[in-house]
């Protein structure tokens, strides 16, 4: 797929998700039992749940839960991986050593274990997806920084900077344009996209497990529904023959949309 088309498709998907999130209601509408499990034909555009409430509201609330924190985590990893690349260009071996030790220690911890321990310890008043997303991003950051540093090293590191300075380019142009925009961009955006996707899947996983056990999720208040609720509702259509196939299709469709957006973004910024 051409880079421009991939970028445009990713942007459209992101805008749609942002619109969904921005228009999310604070609470689901009142039940209309006569429309229970109604299909998309009866309750447009995605059908209804067991109480006749539109699944569009689930999609909106789920987007509002996941979009902000996953973008924040992606941004956090992006900034740190840029820092990793630039630090390699500065050529300070002590900083490199610190990053490698951090990568070794943080990389040795299974991320889900850290997330669950954090979820338990974070005070209930501060609970939400954002702190967990940032912790996930922090755990992913050393790897991203290391990869960006490897790219900077292939460029020539400090010698590359010296050479461009000798050509008369300013510091800001060398670092921001030649290194970040032209060379680090593919790896930084790919890492950020991967973290965005991982945080979305993390939310789905944590919320699904909580819904399955009829407990409150660590990622959002009880008044909001996650996309995991759609998957949980839809799952019963497979095992128990409930008429909830439309919920499963919507849940999987939303997961696919985020996955596609992340992959298209990576594709749009790939190296020439």
């Amino acid at each position: 797929m051409p880079r421009t088309a991939a970028g445009a498709a990713a942007l459209v998907t992101l805008v749609l998700l942002l619109v969904l999130a921005a228009t999310a209601p604070d609470h689901l509408t009142d039940a209309r039992r006569e429309l229970a499990f109604a299909g998309p034909g009866d309750v447009a555009p995605f059908g209804a749940d067991q109480l006749g409430r539109s699944l569009l509201q689930y999609a909106q609330q789920g987007a509002s839960v996941v979009v902000g924190p996953s973008l924040a985590a992606a941004g956090f990893v992006g900034v740190l991986s840029i820092a990793g690349g630039l630090l390699r260009c500065v050529g300070d071996q002590r900083v490199d050593a610190v990053i490698q030790v951090l990568a070794e220690v943080l990389g040795a911890l299974p991320r889900m274990v850290v997330i669950l321990v954090s979820a338990m310890l974070i005070p209930s008043t501060s609970r939400g997806l954002l702190p967990l997303a940032l912790i996930w991003a922090l755990l992913a950051a050393p790897g991203a920084m290391d990869e960006a540093a490897a790219v900077a090293e292939r460029l020539g590191g400090a010698r590359f900077v010296e050479a461009l300075r000798a050509h008369g380019f300013s510091w800001s142009r060398v670092f921001l344009y030649h290194i970040v925009a032209l060379n680090l961009r593919p790896v930084v955006v790919r890492q950020a996209s991967e973290v965005l996707l991982q945080v979305t899947f993390l939310e789905l996983g944590l919320s699904y497990l909580a819904v399955q056990d009829s407990q409150s999720s660590f990622t959002h208040p009880d008044s909001l529904k996650s996309w995991a609720d759609l998957l949980y509702m839809g799952y019963t259509s497979i095992g128990l023959d409930m008429p909830t196939g439309h919920a499963l299709a919507l849940g999987l469709g939303l997961v696919a949309a985020v996955t596609l957006m992340a992959k298209l973004t990576t594709s749009a910024v790939r190296a020439r």
């Binding site: 040795a108 911890l109 979820a119 310890l121 899947f201 799952y235 095992g239």
Partner: protein, 308 residues
């Protein structure tokens, strides 16, 4: 240039430190938060008897006292008793029962990953298949696990928790872990990339000219990197095991950790997290030992012939 033993030495040090680091960080985190530690780990809204809890868990005498006493007990296999997941049962018993399931799940999940790595190294898996693997790998473990769980329910119905169904859960869980979240795809592409880069080395060309197998020549040199990749894969599997175990109803350490987190059972969470840290430390040690073995192997002087 750094001495050859520095890197494996650091890994071994990290391996020894990790099982202490995890409870240490958790302890520091609890005391860094504002408020009473006992109320943080089990808020009064969900737990009663906070004072008794604090006394039983040594939370009332400062972080150092708590940490040293917990580690001292843990070294003797004593992790206290669960207060919510299985009230009154020793946490060590819960860990002892659940660890084999997680180990079996992860070892079984390593089978497709190992096959993929071997296929990529030997060229049996063509490069054009990577795209298809990457596409399948985009599916999150949760979605595959849900499909697997539904398949179990459809296949076994009311007997979904019998022995045969449990065996199927384990096999399906391993397949889910081994394929989803890019596990298989990245094993194939990672190993392929490693061997492709090594194949460009001059010694490989010389080995080919001497009529030797490139793979056997490359293997000792890529072994440390392969061990590093394998460690990363196993960590990835351990992380994913939490979701897969809970969705498929496998009562492993991941399931125990989830139950402890959900029910605010601090003793269970601390012990389960430490168990994961011990597993991770074992992986670090294995990687360090592989690095040491390779370093000693390449430094072994060949026996001199008479002509030499």
């Amino acid at each position: 240039m750094k001495a050859w033993w520095v890197r494996p030495g650091v890994r071994l040090l990290a391996a020894f430190a990790l099982p202490l680091l995890v409870p240490g960080i958790i302890t520091a985190f609890i005391w860094a938060l504002p408020g009473d530690p006992a109320e943080i780990i089990c808020p009064p809204a969900t737990c009663g008897g906070t004072a008794e809890l604090a006394a039983r868990w040594n939370l009332d005498a400062g972080p150092w006292n708590f940490f040293t006493r917990w580690v001292g007990s843990a070294l003797q296999g004593e992790f206290g008793r669960s207060w919510r997941v299985e009230q009154g049962l020793p946490v060590a018993d819960l860990l002892w029962e659940s660890t084999p399931i997680t180990v079996a799940l992860v070892l079984l999940a390593l089978v497709p990953i190992a096959l993929g790595a071997v296929g990529a190294a030997t060229g049996l898996i063509p490069e054009r298949a990577d795209g298809a693997f990457a596409t399948v790998g985009l599916v999150p473990a949760l979605v595959f696990a849900l499909l697997g769980s539904a398949a179990i329910v459809v296949r076994f119905g009311a007997g979904a928790f019998g022995d045969e169904a449990n065996l199927w859960r384990l096999v399906i869980g391993a397949a889910v872990l081994g394929i989803s979240d890019g596990a298989f795809a990245s094993a194939v592409s990672g190993v392929r990339g490693l061997f492709a880069a090594e194949r460009n080395q001059r010694y490989v060309s010389i080995a080919v000219l001497r009529g030797e197998e490139p793979l056997t020549n490359m293997l000792p040199n890529v072994a440390p990197a392969l061990a590093g990749q394998l460690r990363a894969r196993v960590l990835h599997l351990l992380s994913g095991a939490v979701v897969v175990e809970v969705v498929l109803g496998l009562t492993g350490v991941g399931d125990l950790l989830w139950a402890g987190t959900l029910l605010q059972d601090f003793g269970v969470v601390l012990a389960a997290a430490t168990a994961f840290a011990v597993l991770s430390a074992a992986l670090l040690s294995i990687q360090a030992l592989v690095e040491v073995a390779v370093a000693l192997h390449v430094r072994r002087a060949p026996a001199l012939t008479e002509a030499a």
